[in-house]
Point group: C2
Chain length 460, copies 2
């Protein structure tokens, strides 16, 4: 891969950067406008990551951060762990962003305006230029989110460098979540949840989960990064699914910001918080996507999967919409549950489960796990049933014993369903499915949540 | 180097950990006591870093993080960048510490005690069990300090991996300082300084430096890490100087906490803040020192130098005693100024300037820079003068032209003054000098500051 930008690319990136810098400079006139600043910074983050990914490829390869693309006829080596570049640019962007949503309150407080100014802002929140500012007390939670993201990047780079064992790396996100959870504890400490209507006669309207709530948050932070990390293995799939999830969360956030009511929605702040974290993420991910899509010029590394998952966990938890978040993770949840028989050792699990590349046709086929001895009776029955309902393909020897089955990942299942296809077709299929399922999830969230909750917080 | 702990070491570390865990568990009874928690966590941080440094050595070497010890007869390869382990343990320790100084205020606020409890604390601050708590508003600045430290570690690891060019790596600490400076801007925004008495007739008692103050803070953060990084090259010297500086700052902090007056000192909070950051630093550094002292079993890497310097910059800036801090950096300042002729190219600068190891005697001798052509007349005169006053040693050819001079580092100068010596003697000498100069600096700070300032803030 050439490490220099083409002339067209240089000009496009330069124009984008200039435009974003112009927008940024303009926000210093008047009151400033955090949401516009966030958009401009995201544009700059895209341009920076794009250049750095291109330029630093050879450097990464020199120190051994490189890998072979298994699903190509010509297995050349390309740079690995390039997600770390995106993550560093992203973190810099959200740090530089800090003064924009937080500064104005200080001015109000020190100029003697005090509460009066703050009231004024609340009234104007949906129309005025003061839109989208945060109370200063949110700063600690914003900083804790950055700390958690930075921790996951630091540990992710460690993982990519040292190739940490599977059962250890599962807990990397849990370690990284510590700053966020500790500041949550010190700062809000809200551990109460709204009880669904059918259960309210037993538990009351609001139930305090106490320490369990921290366990729940830790689980979300462990689940999101790892679930992205196991839906991986073909060009572009990690970034594509992350982009779809990010865009859908952002879409959901925007629903809370459009002025459909006279009064601003009570959850406005939470969803702004989420947008401020997602926009630059979309920026850097697009730059990475461009290089990681088929045929890949770089690999993203575990770092990117952890980082992306952590961004989602952070906005879901601190924005208080973790249940909605999980609706967008349905394909990942399915993939995890579907993988369970292999992850927990009921079925043999080869070192790599990515689809098999057929060099003759140039297409991907389902990869298989070989049974050295026939499966136990119960497993045998289960595999036969899965085969019958089309959730698996098994092969039997003349004696009727199962000798192999396709690997338990959603990628292989897709190939079982739709036949061998080229790598990018597979990635497109999964991405489209993720989009459709996610949109359905949001529909469920906003249309049917009223069946079990007293109110949808969008229409409060 | 063996990667396992000896039986004695295991028992000692186990006992220490058990004792610290016991102390920690005890603080949950009653009111808790942040300073004691900090000490216990520092003990645990020492034990953890000690074990991890020992255990992870082979892993680091496997991925190429290793180096040859140039100043030994047998140049075996040993692990490099082990400072990163200390830094990660340290960051985990100061994150886990967060609830201890910050939680109680929340309880006071939510239990309806409100201001009354806070007043109670202020009254009892020097005697009661509520000693050493922070107002919640300090949380953001505490978190920003952690963010800056974590950034410097992330960038430092990048430097150790990719071997970034000298003129780029100078600015690594400046990048890492961004979160701290931005939160400073959003949070306090205090940029006023007390004017020395002789200048007060011109500038007034208090002078607002405005943006210059941010420039000053950025300079301090650039200076501290880099100055430690250039006083390096022999076993143990990086950690020793950092430990001396850390202990001296901690000593200065303690001066503000001992109850010499009836009322607590107004700067108590700042110096507690500093202690909370320094105690775990001393813990992890001792563990590293044990492995890095002559004969070194591991190298510390640039990561450690950046990390150590950043800890000092953070406590100096956020504790508002950066001038005092610089008094403790006198040897580093001298070393930097003394290095300037080589750093700025007036005198040839070889790739490595560390003292020369004489394999026959086993002693270190001053290393030299060779002049390919005679120096320019002015440089020639300057070098001759430095030679005369004993700040350099030059060699001339029969024509009287300078052909070589000792390298411009304090380590070589020490060898010029006291003759060749073994590596550990040199490190001990420099460390002792650092201690004496630092103590003198503190004496100057507290005894003579009154000559140019109206009051020493210790005796307010």
């Amino acid at each position: 891969m050439s490490a220099i930008l083409s002339k067209t690319e240089s000009w496009a990136l330069f124009s984008l950067s200039a435009a974003c810098t112009g927008i940024l400079a303009n926000t210093f006139h008047g009151e400033g406008e955090p949401l516009i600043v966030s958009l401009a910074l995201s544009g700059l983050a895209f341009a920076f990551s794009f250049c750095l990914i291109r330029w630093l490829g050879p450097t990464f390869m020199r120190v051994g951060l490189k890998g072979k693309d298994m699903s190509k006829a010509k297995q050349i080596e390309i740079p690995e762990t390039m997600g770390a570049i995106c993550a560093v640019v992203y973190i810099l962007a959200i740090i530089i962003f800090i003064p924009f949503p937080f500064y104005k309150y200080i001015v109000a407080a020190t100029s003697g305006g005090g509460n009066k100014d703050v009231m004024f802002e609340l009234n104007q929140v949906e129309t005025g230029r003061l839109l989208h500012r945060f109370p200063h007390s949110k700063l600690a939670s914003y900083l804790s989110a950055i700390l958690s993201l930075q921790s996951v990047v630091l540990l992710g780079v460690g993982d990519d460098l040292f190739d940490i064992r599977w059962r250890h790396k599962l807990f990397i996100p849990a370690f990284a979540a510590i700053p966020m959870l500790i500041v949550y504890f010190v700062d809000f400490g809200v551990t109460k949840v709204v009880v669904p209507v059918p259960l309210q006669s037993y538990l009351g309207e609001i139930f305090d989960l106490g320490w369990l709530y921290y366990g729940y948050m830790a689980s979300v932070t462990i689940f999101c990064p790892n679930s992205i990390n196991i839906l991986a293995g073909i060009n572009g799939i990690e970034v594509s699914q992350s982009l779809v999830i990010a865009v859908l969360i952002a879409l959901n956030d925007v629903l809370y910001l459009i002025p459909i009511n006279a009064r601003p929605h009570p959850a406005t702040d939470s969803h702004l918080f989420s947008l401020y974290f997602l926009l630059p993420f979309i920026g850097v991910s697009l730059a990475l996507w461009k290089h990681n899509w088929y045929p890949a010029r770089v690999f993203v590394g575990d770092t990117y999967c952890y980082f992306a998952g952590m961004v989602f966990a952070v906005v879901g938890i601190l924005g208080h919409f973790s249940k909605t978040l999980l609706l967008l993770f349905v394909p990942q949840i399915f993939n995890f549950l579907y993988s369970a028989p292999q992850l927990f050792g009921l079925v043999p699990c080869p070192r790599h489960r990515l689809p098999h590349f057929n060099a003759r046709t140039g297409l991907l086929e389902p990869s298989t796990a070989q049974f050295k001895q026939p499966p136990k009776p119960l497993v045998d029955i289960a595999l036969n049933i899965l085969h019958k309902i089309g959730l698996l393909r098994i092969e039997k020897n003349p004696q009727g014993q199962i000798v192999s089955c396709t690997n338990f990942t959603i990628l292989n299942l897709w190939l079982v369903w739709f036949g061998p296809m080229r790598e990018d077709r597979l990635a497109m299929g999964i991405t489209a499915m993720q989009t459709v399922v996610g949109l359905l999830g949001l529909l469920v969230r906003h249309k049917f949540a009223l069946l079990i909750f007293r109110q949808d917080n969008l229409t409060v």
